[in-house]
Symmetry: C2
Subunit: 162 residues, 2 copies
Amino acid sequence: MKGMTEPRWLNADERRAWLALVSINTLLPAALDTKLHAAGKLSLFDYTVLAMLSEAEGRFLPMSELAARSSASLSRLSHVVTKLQKRGWVERRPHPHDARVTTAHLTDEGMETIVGLAPGHVEDVRDLFLDALTEQDVLDLARIGEKVVGRLDTDHWILREG
Amino acid sequence: MKGMTEPRWLNADERRAWLALVSINTLLPAALDTKLHAAGKLSLFDYTVLAMLSEAEGRFLPMSELAARSSASLSRLSHVVTKLQKRGWVERRPHPHDARVTTAHLTDEGMETIVGLAPGHVEDVRDLFLDALTEQDVLDLARIGEKVVGRLDTDHWILREG
DNA sequence: AGCGTCTAGTTGAAGAATCAACCACCCGCC
DNA sequence: GGCGGGTGGTTGATTCTTCAACTAGACGCT
């Protein structure tokens, strides 16, 4: 049982930070979803999956690695890959040395799709988000953001050094 | 047609900031959803709706105002209020002077629910998020977060001065 | 009073996310 | 060599979200 002692309520600045984060959290994906849906009938998550594959060596990744890089559950990813597969953007193949693993491969058609979408998407990210910030803001946000990610998931892939 | 010119790709820090934000965006709500679901079978969004009502004068708000304060569409809110109503936490009442308006009222039972949940939730927010940050981080995040919110929605309620 | 337009909200169907149950396979160990 | 636990992945049911269509009342104009 937790909370027998008086909780430490949020002070004004903590509350501001928290509310802003929650608001960004609903507003930003919604806006990008709208843009991407208009540009190519896909969601931000669909886009992220394709983008992660396009940046991977050989344009394929095991499902679990792809799930990690898109911060999704295996279940969610599996459903989405099925959808992307039906559209011809992704293929599933068995792993040669471990029969448990499935690898998701980006098809040529999938590559064309994301290459066509990427410039517009990057522009949208700037419009909606980055252009509001100074260079210092970007630096601060990267620092703070990575701290938070580290707390939420110690082994998160964006924290791997390379 | 957009994008005839070469897009400005993200530099290293912009990419770090962007990836961190996207990751936080999926990880944080998921973690809080899990906690809240364990504590009381509700989602972060359900919680937010109840919290906004509990903080409102008279513990009621018009649907549109409640939608604004929880960053949701009227449609989403309407479905959720229906659900909360079935659990006895919220009531719908007509507005006395404008028959178009429905007001959502927090019931006593709803108030008890959120009062019971709030200390644990605040602790979770600290555990998962705020405790990773210094005071300066919190200040920076509040400043940057509000800038971003302002860009996404000029009239967002958290930016109203009061 | 009657018309058009805008605002507030609801609804049902369609698509997406989560959860729990499940299968198949790998690996270490007896 | 086979048993047990852990890993990688899929599936279907349930729940949530979104989208488009719709009702109804307010407000302004003539």
